[in-house]
Symmetry: C2
Subunit: 387 residues, 2 copies
């Protein structure tokens, strides 16, 4: 009976997604498009790209921003510019792109664990994963929750290796009062459609180091040193962000605080509505996150009387498309799961969290009323399974 | 007096560029943008991307088209999917991206020469550059002028190595009656802003091999095998084309034949107007190019009484921004110029052509009247220098 009911009428008529894209004001976006048609300048460091870069430098409070076609290519460029090679230590608990960006360049990612009761790289585990072959560390601010940046900086300095942050989730975040974009030797942001702030596809490298920034800029355009394409200073690729993505970014900047507010409201609604749902524990941001964009709502499913996977499936039948971010951890995925060189330390905390985690829908397309309904549906599913 | 005149009033008030972008009908483009705002689907194999892919498969007459964020990333993906490693033989006479896409993945490009009186890879030279370490061949249809595909295919089969074509210039071209997209094991197109057909930034991999296409598709989205991101089949990156670039591509497809016609008119105007200009020889497409997009106008500067570089500078002062495509050849650029492993055979023809070549403005933004003026200005410069 239950099954039949669900098949015929899910709780939501339309799917409710995690990461349904946020959109800017259409009229603002159209004005930028008109300027592209007027100038016939479609890419290659055009006027909108330069304007976007300047505005991002202000907004992210960092000396250099290099906008790039997507976050993965941004990682590749930052890694190459920082001289990464042979081995790099990084958390397994992250999106696979962090690992793939290294491996694509024939660098071996060596996975370290996350901290107990947190979502980010454990400095002690990172230290244990380092060998003579280690050329750098990547910290990932998972869900915008910041790494222990002081401890990681101390390790990087002690070993004289660069420290890169994957800040894909950290747009507009501050850590202990410091803008996220300023941490480490460089940071990489993602402006992918599903992110808090998007440029369709996109990303950026941020750094206060002018020399590093210049190196990334050249590498981002085939290493060309000038307009005439007969001088190359570095090996490089094409990572350029087009004018239309810059246009989207400029338009989105106008909406970013209203989206942040919506996310904060949604987060509070989840905290309220789910307080009485047994077995789901909301993962709260750490105190060090002094400014948050609230773009992720993450629960730990634990003693709910239903497995995380079964709960996810039951919610999906109700058109609530929760996601297992980040299951199962990079170290349990191809090709790393069969590569001993990537596996050196215990990843027990990573496995425990990735087997319990569930990400719920938020953003512009979600509101507190919907969240109350999501909580009720979740509670019903759990009750049904315990009963 | 001449110098003063030039400084105060160049022949053209506004710069006339090589590769000024072609644009689609704004209204057609706007309709696609509206559909993006309606669906809130901004990337990740969205409805426009799928429509664009289908239309490209028809237009390019090939079984599989995988649209990608740019041509360089498309090259990287094709090379990786074809199993390229260690060494790959390719012409030095090409845009640096062909070489960089290999080297970024730690593969050594080994440069071969072009044919005498042609612009493309010399099969004999390619064969001489092959060793036991060679894992593949890349042919480049420079200016859309096709490689000797029968001879290259024979070499690839004899050595049992894959053959990839860099078809960045070949959109809508046919070679001996065969669509360019069908040649080799795979081909890579560029839809960069400056190309005949553009998607702001973009590119595509084409192949008639369904298994190879599926591999590329997975690699283009981090190797994910399904919607749930907990199964990875391959190492991959993010090469995805966004919905807005697909929208541009769809809109451009409506204009592509009118742009081809304009290019053909422009080419004829150059042939007529420059027939009486001494020292500039128009490089004509070979007979094997049975369908051309006419997107490049290339001259060989020879016995003009002025060096190629001085002629280029003089034209630039008149706001005619000619380009030295492709000077100086990959083998004379960083990092390859100092890497003996890349240099194995004579590149005399490459050096001769790259030291003489000059590319002139064409496309939507150029018309036959402007070309007549360009020819007159060029003739004047040459006369002045001989006088």
């Amino acid at each position: 009976m239950e099954g039949q009911k669900n098949l015929s009428s899910p709780a939501f008529k339309e799917p409710v997604h995690v990461g349904r894209p946020n959109l800017p004001d259409r009229k603002v976006f159209d004005r930028y498009i008109q300027s592209i048609f007027d100038s016939r300048w479609l890419t290659n460091n055009g006027p909108l790209l330069r304007q976007f870069k300047e505005k991002l430098q202000d907004y992210l409070e960092v000396k250099n921003v290099i906008p790039v076609c997507n976050g993965t290519i941004a990682l590749e460029l930052a890694e190459r510019a920082l001289g990464f090679q042979r081995e790099v230590v990084m958390p397994s608990y992250t999106f696979i792109a962090t690992a793939h960006s290294l491996r694509w360049q024939q660098i071996t990612p060596v996975f370290a664990d996350i901290q107990h009761k947190a979502t980010t790289l454990a400095p002690k585990s990172a230290r244990n994963a380092i060998t003579e072959a280690t050329s750098g560390i990547i910290g990932v601010h998972v869900y915008g929750h910041p790494c222990d940046h002081s401890a990681l900086k101390a390790i990087a300095m002690e070993r004289s290796i660069p420290l890169l942050y994957d800040a894909a989730h950290s747009f507009g975040c501050e850590v202990d009062g410091i803008p996220a974009a300023k941490l480490g030797d460089a940071s990489v942001f993602s402006f992918h459609a599903t992110k808090f702030f998007n440029t369709f596809e996109g990303g950026a490298i941020t750094t206060d180091d002018d020399d590093l920034a210049e190196k990334v800029r050249l590498m981002n355009n085939f290493g060309f040193a000038g307009r005439e394409k007969d001088k190359v200073d570095y090996l490089g690729i094409n990572g350029k962000m087009s004018e239309i993505s810059a246009a989207m970014g400029l338009a989105m900047l106008d909406s970013v605080e209203s989206i942040r507010n919506r996310n904060r409201e949604n987060y509070s609604a989840y905290a309220d509505s789910f307080s009485s749902v047994p077995g789901l524990e909301l993962i709260e941001p750490p105190a060090s996150l002094t400014r948050n964009n609230w773009q992720y709502v993450i629960f730990r499913v634990n003693k709910a009387g239903i497995t995380r996977d079964n709960l996810a499936q039951a919610l999906e039948r109700e058109n609530i498309l929760v996601r297992k971010y980040f299951h199962p951890g990079c170290h349990r995925l191809v090709p790393y799961c069969s590569e001993p060189s990537s596996l050196r330390v215990s990843l027990a905390e990573t496995e425990a969290l990735s087997d319990a985690v569930l990400s719920f829908p938020t953003g512009q397309a979600v509101n507190p009323d919907m969240i109350e309904k999501i909580a009720n549906v979740t509670a019903e599913i759990i009750e049904r399974n315990c009963g």
